[in-house]
Amino acid sequence: MILTLLIIWAFVGGMLAWISGRWSQLLPRVISLVTLAINMVVLIVMWVHYFGPSSPVPNGSYVIEVSHTWIPQLGISFHLALDGLSMLLIILTNFLGIMSVATSWNSIKVRVGFFHFNLLWIVASIMGVFLALDLFLFYFFWEMMLVPLYFLIAFWGYEKRVYASIKFFIFTQAGGLLMLLAILGLYFIHGRATGVYTFNYTQLLGTHMSESTATLLMLGFFAAFAVKLPVVPVHTWLPDAHTQAPTAGSVNLAGLVLKVGAYGMIRFMVPLFPKAALDFSGVAMGLAVASILYGAVVAFAQTDIKRLVAYTSVSHMGFVLLGIFAWNQLALEGAIMIMLAHAITTGALFMLCGDLSERMHTRDMEKMGGLWQTIPKMGAVGMFFAVASLGLPGLGNFVGEFLVVLGTFHANTTMAVVATLGLIVSAVYSLWMLQVAFQGPNVHGWKLPDMSRREAAIMGTMIAIIAWFGLYPQSVLSTARQSVDNLQQIVTTTKPAETQAPVDAPTLVIQDEGKTQ
């Protein structure tokens, strides 16, 4: 019940915000903030209650599960469930929602009500995606987030927003339709084999089918998730959409939409088609490494600071893909860690870009330079997130990338070695961005107002979280531990024991603390 309420509450908040926009500019902001803050409080309480140090180990895979019949004729139910992985991701969703409201407090001035309506509907649908355990419901929420995101980019974006929004919409829609075909294929194969026609995820697990069918269906899912993630070569919507979106849109895209792709792979694609995914892992890892290197190299070639940050996402999400297809505990936990840390760092970097372009009315780095002298606080924050993004030890991104590379090393040494090169390039582009934008003489004579209190508060929160992820990752990883175990369990029980060996070997590295809880 509580899960349904969380989603509905965000939808209702969005509608209230839209309506209230008729009377004032402030009211929609306040309503959105209050809506999300209430959600956030509930979620934190749930987190502590279900995943805190003293909470009991749940019996079953999910701590909360609700299911209502929805379209019984097709075996579709409104089935939501919460486990550690979903918990982390919906907290992240709400958190970034709040940050998006905060960061657009002054920068969005037209149609404020409608803006917040879209924002909250994105948050609500993405929460739905992270909680749905019915494939139809999953697809429903998956498609539902597109329209508000599209509006967000198309109406409040920068100069080439219409082009970027249409490109985004078409790419994701095309991927989504392929997933729909795969879902239906799975539905009928399962129905014919067992006589039970259902979209229920738990029942569909372990459906028997021929290898070629499984590969085809898995590719259908992969298409949708790869577009969202994004994986080279279907990443081309991303730089445009991220660059042209308003700051809140970029934060949501980078922080949440990309994670939806990764989540889909972890929750649905690999467990539903374990054998096919294993066979495909060589190709997928190759694509992952290509994304890591390509994204990093192209990022280095950008002059638009927002576009640069956008390309770094391609690179970082390559690590996530690598970790998912390595499919051992270390790599998966690393992938989850990157998902969280990347959402925060990249979100913060996009906010910084937004704040800069609001002040300077340009995103061209060649027109910047020497900004540290006029806006030292923003320079420092930029420094922090740039080094976080390049994977400085002690910060969240490092933990994630380290675990992924470590886990991948057991699964595929070559790929791990090549992927490490990406870390070097990421240092190059991050530091280069800092160098060009903030260091050096202030040749253009910029005199800009430094961070406001609101901006400082947002950035301070984000900095604290990244430092927390970096210094005490166990608090996050232990939440996800149980779900990672369950997912691996699903994969190993439905598939002959051929991948066992690399799974267990490295577990003693950091597993100790998780077991004591």
Binding site: Q73, L74, A154, F169, Q173, L177, L180, L181, L184
Partner: protein, 478 residues
């Protein structure tokens, strides 16, 4: 004919009596309010007869007409759509010069034709229904006699429809020549016994009939009339063509070809395969090049009937539900779209240029919101009826493993996003500088408001909780 037979066709009798009543009323005194009231009462009364018929045991009224559950359901659907269109037409008619009452007569006759179509089990009633529908439509399309493109569209429709009727008749004659019967049931049971030599003529006959039916549905390659007629006809009439006219013909197609089990025959399967693929792709691709909203919707309707053919060709048990659900979703969305167009249309011309919609969101946000919702429903986005409808179509295709068709369907719907989004973007883009002084677009009149609210609520309701309707469809139809 027995007493039961008369009761069976009561809905059709009431529907046929209504235009007569309107005519008599007009002969006494021309009064728009009175004739509109008679029209509404007639439609509601005809609708009210449906439950009475449902209690009858023997529904084969005559050799020509069967009022089975399938027919009753579709008649109900067609009557309800027409009722909505009456509300939609009222303000539009009043704002145009010329006589108005005849419009209701023609509209009612056309609806009668469509209802006869869905109830027919015989070539004679099939043909009669189709002709009642078509002849009324010729006049309706050219109802704005002062509009040059309206008259052009009417003549184009007349000539092409007459030609296609020729094909249909020739096809019927060939089938009759080989089978010796014009009754669907007889044709279905006898055609399997045909020898190879006779079968050629039988199949040729069916092929020629497909030309005639395909013309009415405006599927590729018989779609040439659609854009011109959509553009030229008054907006409410276009809505009628898109919903009641095409819906009735499709219901007949489903009944006839299901009965003769066309899937058993490869050549028929491939004919429909080619038509479906061509309609989905050509419809959507050609729509990309239009700058006229009515023409865009015309091409989109070509594509939508291509989608429907996919489910029509699937042989599983989801088929009838999928087709019916999609037709309902399409009725709702296209009525909503043309509803918005009607609201914005003045006496000089219909608001059919893309430019007419520039910045609509900033001047008439509710109209723009309804239009957006309807376009998203046509595009098949969640929370709208169109999503559930499209999902069912794809499911019906997947059930029968028609993978090639549903992959093309998916590709085609991605293409279609371009032009739906284009209209939406136009509505939300800010008007140009000089447009500040332009007059505000008109508001919806109360009767038009009813239509827009009703279609929006229906689209949302089906998009969120379709189970109720999906539950009804099979139990009503089988």
């Amino acid at each position: 004919m027995t007493r039961g037979g008369w009761i069976d066709i009561l809905p059709l009798i009431v529907l046929a009596a209504t235009p007569v009543a309107v005519m008599i009323a007009v002969a006494v005194r021309r009064n728009m309010t009175v004739s509109t009231a008679i029209t509404l009462i007639g439609l509601v009364a005809s609708f009210a007869m449906l439950p009475i018929v449902r209690t009858q045991d023997n529904r084969q009224a005559t050799a020509l007409i069967v009022m089975d559950n399938y027919a009753l359901f579709y008649i109900g659907l067609l009557l309800a759509s027409t009722l909505i269109l009456v509300f939609l037409s009222y303000r539009y008619l009043n704002s145009h010069p010329g006589n108005k009452d005849e419009y209701w007569i023609l509209l009612l006759l056309a609806t009668l034709g469509s209802c006869v179509l869905v109830a027919s089990t015989h070539f004679a009633s099939f043909f009669l229904g189709l002709e009642i529908l078509s002849i009324s439509l010729y006049a309706l399309v050219g109802y704005n006699r002062t509009s040059a493109i309206g008259v052009e569209a009417a003549i184009k429709y007349l000539v092409l429809a007459a030609a296609s009727t020729g094909f249909l008749l020739f096809g019927m004659a060939l089938v009759y020549g080989e089978i010796g019967s014009m009754e669907f049931g007889q044709i279905a049971s006898l055609h399997n016994a045909l020898g190879d030599g006779e079968r050629v003529f039988f199949l040729t006959g069916l092929g020629l009939m497909t030309v005639g039916i395909g013309f009415k549905l405006a599927v590729v390659p018989f779609h040439m009339w659609a854009p011109d007629v959509y553009q030229g006809a008054p907006a409410p009439v276009t809505a009628f063509i898109a919903s009641v006219s095409k819906g009735g013909v499709f219901a007949l197609l489903l009944r006839f070809f299901t009965q003769i089990n066309f899937r058993a025959d490869d050549s028929l399967f491939w004919i429909f395969f080619v038509i479906a693929v061509a309609s989905m792709l050509a419809g959507n691709l050609l729509a990309l090049m239009q700058n006229n909203v009515k023409r865009i919707l015309a091409y989109s309707s070509i594509a939508h009937f291509g989608y429907l053919l996919v489910a029509f060709m699937a042989s599983g048990n989801l088929r009838v539900t999928a087709v019916t659900l999609y037709l309902i979703a399409y009725f709702i969305a296209s009525t909503g779209c043309f509803g918005v167009i009607t609201v914005l249309s003045g006496p000089e011309r219909d608001a059919d240029r893309l430019e007419d919609y520039r910045g609509l969101f900033w001047t008439r946000p509710w109209l723009a919101a309804v239009f957006t919702g309807m376009l998203l429903s046509l595009a098949g986005i969640p929370l709208t009826a169109g999503f559930i409808g499209k999902f069912y179509l794809v499911a019906a295709g997947a059930q029968d493993s028609l993978w090639a068709l549903i992959i093309i369907l998916a590709t085609a719907s991605v293409i279609s996003l371009f032009y739906y989004i284009r209209i939406i973007v136009t509505m939300y883009s800010r008007p140009e500088g000089e447009a500040e002084t332009a007059p505000l677009p008109p508001m919806a009149s109360p009767s038009e408001g009813v239509v827009l609210v009703a279609t929006s609520l229906l689209a949302l309701w089906l998009g969120i909780y379709p189970a109720a309707l999906i539950h009804i469809i099979p139990s009503v139809i089988h």
